[in-house]
Amino acid sequence: MNAPRAVVDKRLTNALALGAIWICALTTVAFLGSLLLYIVVNGVRELTPAFIFTWPHGVNMEGGIWPTIQSTMYVTVLAMAIVTPVAVLAAVYLAEYAVQGRLVRTIRFAADSLASVPSIVMGLFGMALFVEGMGLQFSALSGALALSFLMLPIIMRTTEEAIRAVPKYIRWGSYGLGASKWQTVSRIVLPAASPRILTGLLLAMGRAAGETAVVIYTMGTMIYAPVSPLDPGRTMPVHVMLMAMEGINLKAAYGTALLLVLMVLAFNLTARYIVRRNRRMQG
């Protein structure tokens, strides 16, 4: 007599539980949707060419945000230029040369630790070492150096995964033709892994462009359009934060936030596009 009832129970539980899981997923999508909708609805009216391409003026920072855009791009690209060679070669070492052991475990532990350092700690570190210790002052270079420590573990991990995903037989072919290890790595493996490496670089750039706590203590908050690496500047996230916290110019905060989200989304979507195109080309 119990058996049919048990079957009904188990089906009912199944349906309820799967329903709950669907609700979890829908809630996640709803969070993203409401966040994007809120930023877009409030920010879209601000996104005029005048807002993007002119300088702010007055005590309430009316007008445009061009210097913050320039600062953001400047520091992000500079950080990228500093960190990419180091991170990619470090990943080459881990994926191609390293023998598993204490050394590799130490490096991986350090990379994981670096990835989990709170950004505010990274900011104070940048201030102590680059701004004050090395006398670089609040500058794009200080900001870029501090950001590069933030980006290093991200790029190392994605690049290592990209290199490991290159099939072994491609390497055998290269060795079979008499190529040395470096020739194989530089001419065969890295080009084959390059789309996925690029994806990692784009994701890290998105992360750096949106970072607030690191740049506020290394690049400062002064409205300035940096030309030399030693110039200070105020990046877009810092601008959003200051405008919102002081509550003096919420329109600028919304507009800048929308532009920032669009920038980061562009990085992410490009990264996804590259991965997808690459997957299709490989079959």
Binding site: N14, A20, L35, S180, R207, G210
Partner: protein, 332 residues
């Protein structure tokens, strides 16, 4: 696999032998089993040296990560250790009063630690079930079409800058909280929701990886015994992915306790011990943002001291994940 290793190893052996060959041709031939002599002559000493120095260069690059951790510890430590010497580590950690600008300054961060923990655990309690549910959905339940919507949503949530979450919390969620409580809306409740959204993508992505790495045969075995989908998930898959999910939750905790900008915008940042979930509070991270602009002397040193504590907490989380995965690896 072993064939692959052989093919990989051969050039390396050849290189080493070629280097020895250039120095003492006779001893190289005499020492041990050398591969094919024909390949030896094809690699010059210059190539060998170039290959070896490149390898060392890459090792140096990889060590930048280690150097980074040491530098952070060193430079934040140098600036902050004096406060431990002056106030005493125990006093610093257990003091309830954070009064850095009083006549007799007091640097106790216990209240800040407690606030950080409450904010983190609250965010985790809201966010982790949602994230694990989303991970189960993506890996087990979703139709391909639903997955094609939810997976990008999770990835995009991960990419959104924390200051935008803060703005959303400050201007969209805070008024709702204010409506509920009759106050200003700054406080734990708002911070919990913001932190929950922020840790969701991290926890969901890693949990999903853990679920996906379970072999398909295990699911089939469970279905073959008459289990429903939910029974399979609850009794088989979640226990099997337990370690990965715990890792994901610890990483989410690390992210939540270190989160600064989003929290500073919704927390209200009052230097009092809060009396309710709608009352303003100050955490380990936000105290640095709030106090840094005007801090000097011991006050500034104390803020670096707080940063050391935060750094040690995040290291402890990473070490815990290491230990769990090693322990779990031995079990299975």
């Amino acid at each position: 696999m072993s064939a692959g290793d052989d093919m990989e190893r051969r050039p390396r052996v050849t290189l080493r032998e070629a280097g020895a060959d250039a120095r003492t041709p006779s001893s190289a031939a005499a020492s041990g089993p050398v591969p094919e002599p024909a390949t030896l002559s094809t690699i010059s000493r210059a190539t060998y040296l170039k290959e070896a120095s490149l390898k060392n260069l890459f090792l140096v690059c990889a060590f930048v990560a280690v150097a980074g951790v040491l530098l952070i510890f060193l430079f934040v430590g140098i600036r902050g250790w004096e406060i431990f010497a002056k106030v005493g580590v125990w006093q610093f950690l257990s003091g309830l009063q954070w009064q850095p600008t009083a006549e007799t300054p007091q640097f106790g961060i216990l209240a800040l630690i407690v606030n950080s923990v409450i904010a983190t655990l609250g965010g985790l309690a809201l966010g982790a079930p949602l994230a694990v549910g989303t991970a189960v959905f993506l890996s087990e339940v979703a139709t391909p079409r639903a997955r094609a919507i939810v997976r990008p949503a999770v990835e995009l949530l991960a990419g959104i800058p924390s200051v935008v979450y803060g703005l959303f919390g400050l201007l969209a969620l805070r008024p709702i909280a204010a409506e509920f409580s009759g106050g200003l809306g700054f406080g734990y409740a708002t911070a919990w929701v913001v932190l929950a959204i922020m840790i969701l993508p991290t926890v969901a992505a890693i949990s999903e990886d853990a679920l996906r790495s379970i072999p398909e045969g295990i699911r089939e075995a469970s279905y073959a015994m008459g289990a429903t989908k939910w029974q399979t998930i609850w009794r088989v898959l979640l226990p099997a992915a337990k370690i990965g999910i715990i890792d994901a939750i610890i990483l989410g905790m690390g992210r939540a306790i270190g989160e600064t900008m989003a929290v500073v915008m919704v927390a209200g940042n009052a230097k009092v011990i809060p009396e309710g979930i709608f009352k303003p509070f100050l955490t380990l991270t936000t105290v640095i943002v709030i106090d840094m602009p005007y801090a000097s002397g011991d006050h500034r040193t104390a803020l670096f001291g707080v940063a050391i504590i935060l750094f040690l907490i995040s290291m402890a989380f990473v070490a815990t994940i290491r230990l769990i995965s090693r322990f779990g690896g031995e079990q299975s």
